[in-house]
């Protein structure tokens, strides 16, 4: 197959079961298919137990699908060649939920260097990448320090730097803001957006906060291990009823617009942000 024409991520009919062939078998994914092109910003939403985090691990070859396939820039993650698996992991970097559980070293720059060191790069290049990655997430001042006294948002930015230093083409954020306070969330989201615009990294953000999903271009919603929605984020997030049916709340502005519309006010479709709502309301007044 011609690799240049291949989407960076292609999931076709993926099925994944935990504890396969035992009494406790749980099917987490029941046949998922989608494609993601390079440069997209996709939010993957779903209620607890919808299979979001399982999917993140499939994209990184941590799990191999029981049925169906996952292709990362044309490489099947089920490949049994070690080089293929490493190539997949070099392309797709994952930032996990708990920053404390993904730090390997007790000095910040050593932790960020862990990935590039595993890639076998020469020391000078590792140093350069570590400095660049810490600069990107705005933590360059802390590089000789220890992560223990930092805030959750700062720790998570270091975890992002650790993935960034491997220069991945795709970054998966697996509920990376779930444990942070609003300020930490904003710090991390700003960094993600900067990485996307400056380094051109494809971002897949797994979240159950609809407000965060509103920053993405496209929303894929999972429900019960299946894809329930796959559309541009404004369309997906303003569909209050569809989101409610899969156990999610639409962003507050979308819900307000929905309730106003139900009471007979004419509101345009696709409102997901406070700005959009304000604009629509002002237009009514005039």
């Amino acid at each position: 197959m011609d690799r240049s024409a291949e989407k960076i991520i292609r999931v076709s009919n993926a099925v994944y079961k935990y504890n396969r062939d035992t009494e406790d078998e749980v099917t987490a994914l029941r046949g998922i298919s989608f494609e993601i092109a390079e440069g997209e910003f996709v939010a993957l939403v779903g209620a607890n137990g919808s299979g979001k985090s399982t999917l993140a691990r499939l994209l990184n070859a941590l799990y191999i699908p029981d049925e169906g396939d996952v292709f990362v820039s044309g490489i099947n993650t089920a490949s049994d060649k070690n080089e293929d698996i490493l190539a997949v992991r070099r392309t797709v970097g994952v930032v996990f939920q708990n920053p404390d559980n993904q730090m390997v070293a007790s000095i910040i720059e050593d932790d960020v260097a862990f990935g590039p060191e595993n890639l076998g790069l020469p020391p000078a290049e590792i140093r350069e990448r570590v400095d660049w990655a810490l600069e990107c997430v705005g933590m360059a001042d802390h590089k000789k320090g220890t992560p223990f006294r930092l805030s959750g948002g700062q720790k998570q930015r270091i975890a992002i730097a650790g993935v960034l230093a491997m220069r991945p083409r795709v970054m998966v954020l697996d509920e990376s803001t779930a444990m942070l306070d609003p300020r930490g969330k904003k710090e991390v989201m700003d960094v993600v957006e900067r990485i996307r615009s400056e380094a051109g990294v494809t971002v897949i953000m797994i979240t159950h906060f609809p407000d965060e999903a509103a920053r993405a271009d496209r929303v894929i919603a999972l429900s019960g291990g299946r894809v329930a929605m796959d559309m541009p984020s404004s369309a997906a997030l303003s569909d209050v009823e569809a989101l409610r049916s899969i156990g999610l709340d639409a962003p507050l502005p979308a819900r307000i617009a929905y309730e106003l519309r139900k009471r007979g006010l004419s509101m345009p479709e696709g409102i997901t942000t406070p700005d959009g709502l304000t604009e629509a309301l002002c237009r009514i007044k005039n």
């Binding site: 404390d100 993904q102 390997v104 070293a105 007790s106 050593d110 020469p122 650790g162 491997m166």
Partner: protein, 285 residues
């Protein structure tokens, strides 16, 4: 959190911090042997003085270093008490002070030996603490991997040893925080950790250890996922950002440590019957 010293680096810039981790390990081993051989208070004083010089050079507040001793205070006191009680000295006739009760006794020799053993324990703890206070876990893992390299010949997973130690050190503050959290959660539900006798208090810790253990397992599963996803491959083809390099100062320090060991051995055994050795044998126990 603030009290944890064991295994944690104190990140400042000093000659001791910059020294090669392998050199520090070798010096530590020579130092431990030296402390064990030393047999008089005078020799202990010489070692302690040199250790103090290293502490001052490292720019770590000496109190911070000494707080490492908190962890072993019970052990030190217990050792002292047993040494004093069980040491019979030279018998009741030759001792200036002699109290006997049952199988135990307190005598001058016993007290002196007890004090000597406390000095030895303190020196044995403070020295290695200086290594962990001034060396990053990653450097330490590399040093261990380097020093154990000969074992690779008999297929010992040397890289894994280094990695395990480095991660264990990295996890100490995290697990400590977790312990506090579990204890607080149980206090909120009416558990008591500061009432009753020793046995009751120890019993109250069991319900703390179980959730702690489970969460440590969960953390290690998460960590292994994170490491794998960052291309960790058991250390195959791994390079280093900071390559360890022996410098002249490292080699000189190692030579000096070896010399110190030799000096102490001369002081203890006095092979050549030098007169000044008697001075160094003052306070022999």
């Amino acid at each position: 959190m603030k009290d944890v010293v064991f295994g944690q680096i104190y990140p400042v810039n000093s000659p001791v911090h910059r020294a090669d981790a392998r050199a520090k390990f070798i010096i530590m081993i020579l130092y431990i042997v030296t402390v064990i051989f030393a047999s008089s208070f005078m020799q202990m004083a010489v070692i302690a003085l040199l250790l103090l010089t290293v502490i001052l050079m490292s720019r770590i507040p000496p109190l911070k270093v000494l707080s490492a001793l908190k962890a072993i205070i019970v052990l030190a006191i217990a050792t002292f008490i047993f040494t004093v009680l069980l040491n019979k000295g030279e018998g009741a006739e030759n001792e200036s002070l002699y109290l006997e009760f049952g199988p135990f006794c307190i005598c001058g020799t016993g007290l002196l030996t007890g004090a000597f053993i406390i000095c030895r324990i303190v020196l044995l703890i403070v020295g290695p603490t200086m290594v962990t206070l001034t060396t990053t876990p990653v450097d330490m893992a590399d040093a261990i991997e380097f020093l154990l390299a000969p074992l690779k010949l008999i297929k010992v997973p040397v890289h894994a040893f280094g990695m395990i130690m480095s991660i264990a050190l990295r996890m100490i503050p995290t697990l400590f925080e977790e312990t506090q959290r579990v204890m607080n959660a149980q206090k909120a539900r009416g558990a008591c950790f500061d009432h009753g006798n020793v046995f009751k208090r120890i019993g109250a810790l069991v319900p703390v250890l179980i959730p702690l253990f489970i969460s440590a397992l969960k953390r290690s599963a998460d960590l292994s996922d994170a490491m794998e996803s960052r291309c960790y491959n058991g250390g195959k083809g791994k390079t280093r950002m900071k390559v360890l390099k022996f410098r002249v100062s490292d080699i000189l320090s190692m030579l000096f440590s070896a010399l110190l060991l030799f000096f102490i051995l001369v002081c203890v055994y006095n092979w050549w019957n030098w007169g000044w050795v008697a001075f160094m044998q003052m306070g022999t126990v």
